[in-house]
Point group: C2
Chain length 430, copies 2
């Protein structure tokens, strides 16, 4: 059974904090193991990558078969039914159309002193995309990671995907084909992150590594951060549904189940102003779970991490939502636009009764790689900006340099950086 | 003596890679020490912070004197001469005026199917700014970190600054006063980062920690990443000056010295098309160094990490610049605008003979917190966007949900997420 809280209960604050701070992942300390793997890949390159891959993935790769060949990609992609190809193409095109609008513009101007100031955006040269293998190997994630990189203008995209027992979901390779990703390696784990970050004889190093993974992948990303850029440390997925009396309990229940079926610590929370709705939704979840194929994962997730919270008002719901800072927030209420400004911390917000979170996972057009574990307090979903970087531009002429020199030299002296002051003074005609 | 390379030399590539990969910092493995400090602060809160501060900073703080009082800030600030106040105020106002232009705009639109899509920006609630103590304690850095946060609309800015032997540069407190930062703690090191990330009884936790620091601070930031956001892992400062025959050798020499005087692994590189200029600049550096107060640090930095590279053309200079991906790139050439598009990887670019890098450190208006150690390949300087985050907005009506449903349900089935498909199908009237 999910926990039930009411904001009017005397122990509400304490129990809410427990919910907020509850761990949903076994915190595995794999720091030393990962550090050893990274050091090994740096030292022995392909040899280490091959050994580790054959060991952990029970496969039989050699340095010259680390890359998945163009033939193999084409064959796998061709084996996927046309309906799936069409669906992934629709997803690709909608993701592309939305992300194109995120492309930033340079802004360079001259101020009243004649100083040229500005910001110029350029793409990262080479990006590595980590795609998990096994259960959570999703073709939609290939699109969500690759398309923003393509839109940004990244010249080289290298994808890695582990193939446990040599197996790979052909839809993954189809998605890569649709996204135009042609460089794919059958490797995973910390060894794949290390190979991308430092390079080997057969895998050229990249500048940034993105994509979700298990504890080894997350720890490896943390350790190589600085050598390369990384996107974020992904945690279990989560949804917060805010519902009022206008909500359809069956629809809300379906959305809570959709989140819970991710398993691995995924969390579904309902916050509602209606005690009656809370009860009906709880019953609906049970009813729908019984009809779901693979119901065990979803039921376990809902029982272990689910929560139903009743509140006095939508304003109060918004306050809780900001403390939870959920990856996904659904506004299953009569006036979603009205509450929107009050929800400040969320990865993505879904407006109204006809926007199930799952539509955003696939074909809405927005990105489904979003900040988890309360990191929406400070982080954003994946987008085009993650594959670009800003360069500052500054230009003075003799007159503007002269106008600024006194203040600059004064600060240089305060900071005891006399060479800094001298580099300005030497340019002045006095 | 700095190293001298010529791109025409047969061993150039090998020696250039050596330069590129040369370590400029002792790589201290302080992971375990830092992990223990963070765990201690999480467990014992203020008591741990006070103990560690009194031990490492040889000071005498208690939980109720961790915060620097409003009185103390006012007194210190008032003790600073008016010329310095005026210079810092000028810097503040110019940094503010430039960063205001970085404020992003929300973009929400409806597509041809009737789907509402968009990006909304909101500020981070609370930010911690780390300001180093001792030698590299710069009032300008207070402004460069605090002003973008203020412009972003961050409601709470908490600053930490270690006060070794109980001492603090009053100009640091003046800069905080000018920037409107009123919450300041006299703590530093990993314990300060831990207190900001997890909170103690007297220091409320923040959502993001920014600012440079030593190996302990950098490692602590890496370890708390995820619990809070961080800006970057800062390394030694660096400049790359690209000069042609139009450059003034004395000015170029002054800029190379200004960078080298940061010490601690700071690196100055000159790339020039003119062999004669290379020789003259080398001699000028020696001449000017002899006149510099505190010349030892700059001389040591220049001798140990400095480099002069002669190349055949400015195009070749740009290629090398992109491989070096320097924090600062000066274009001391006749046509800086002409070369600008070719320089793709740089934290900041300084245009022409009258833009010494030092002007950007203080009063140019652009930010001086910039990516180091080749991270300009994937990272940007500090700006307003670092203190905000994007939330995706998605909204469907019955008609647009229906139009998207087939593709979405198809992908859900491919991914074996039947609950996802069900959350869409259940909303369709059939």
């Amino acid at each position: 059974m999910p926990i039930r809280l009411d904001s009017a209960d005397p122990d509400f604050e304490q129990r809410f904090v427990q919910l907020l701070e509850g761990k949903r992942e076994a915190s595995q300390d794999v720091n030393d193991t990962v550090a050893a793997i990274i050091a090994d890949v740096r030292r022995r390159g392909d040899v280490a990558v091959v050994e580790l891959t054959n060991k952990f993935d029970r496969s039989h790769v050699a340095p010259d078969t680390l890359a998945i060949s163009a033939d193999e990609i084409a064959r796998a992609a061709a084996s996927v039914p046309d309906t799936i190809r069409a669906a992934l193409q629709t997803a690709h095109d909608r993701i592309w159309a939305h992300h194109v609008k995120q492309k930033p513009e340079d802004h360079i101007y001259t101020d009243h002193l004649g100083v040229t100031l500005g910001t110029r955006w350029t793409p990262v040269d080479a990006v590595g995309i980590y795609v998990p293998g096994g259960l959570a190997s999703y073709p939609s994630s290939v699109l969500m990671n690759a398309v923003p990189a393509q839109v940004a203008g990244v010249a080289r995209i290298a994808m890695v995907v582990p193939t446990p027992n040599g197996e790979i979901n052909p839809a993954i390779l189809l998605a890569a084909q649709i996204a135009g990703v042609t460089e794919i390696y059958r490797i995973g784990g910390a060894q794949a992150v290390a190979a991308l970050a430092y390079g080997t004889a057969s895998i050229a190093r990249v500048d940034k590594v993105v994509g979700p993974g298990n504890a080894y992948v997350a720890t490896a990303k943390r350790q190589v951060f600085g050598q390369v850029g990384i996107d974020m440390i992904a945690g279990p997925s989560e949804v917060l549904v805010i519902a009022d009396g206008s909500a359809n309990p069956a629809w809300v229940a379906a959305d809570l189940i959709a989140q819970a079926e991710h398993g691995a610590g995924a969390q579904s929370i309902l916050v509602t102003t209606e005690k009656g709705l809370a009860d009906t939704v709880a019953a609906e979840v049970d009813r729908q779970l019984a009809l779901l194929p693979k119901q065990e994962i979803a039921r376990q997730g809902w029982d272990e991490f689910g929560a139903i919270i009743t509140v006095a008002s939508l304003d109060e719901a918004a306050l809780l939502a900001n403390r939870i800072a959920s990856e996904h927030v659904e506004l299953a209420i009569n006036d979603p636009q009205g509450l929107l400004p009050a929800i400040r911390h969320a990865g993505a917000i879904f407006l109204g009764h006809h926007t199930p979170e799952a539509i955003g996972d696939y074909v809405g057009g927005s990105n489904h790689v979003l900040p988890t574990a309360r990191s929406a307090r400070f982080a954003s979903g994946l987008g085009v900006l993650d594959f670009m970087k800003r360069t500052s531009i500054l230009g003075c002429d003799p007159s503007s340099l002269s106008a600024l020199s006194e203040a600059a030299v004064t600060i240089a002296e305060v900071e005891a950086l006399h060479g800094h002051g001298q580099s300005i003074s030497i340019r002045l005609n006095r």
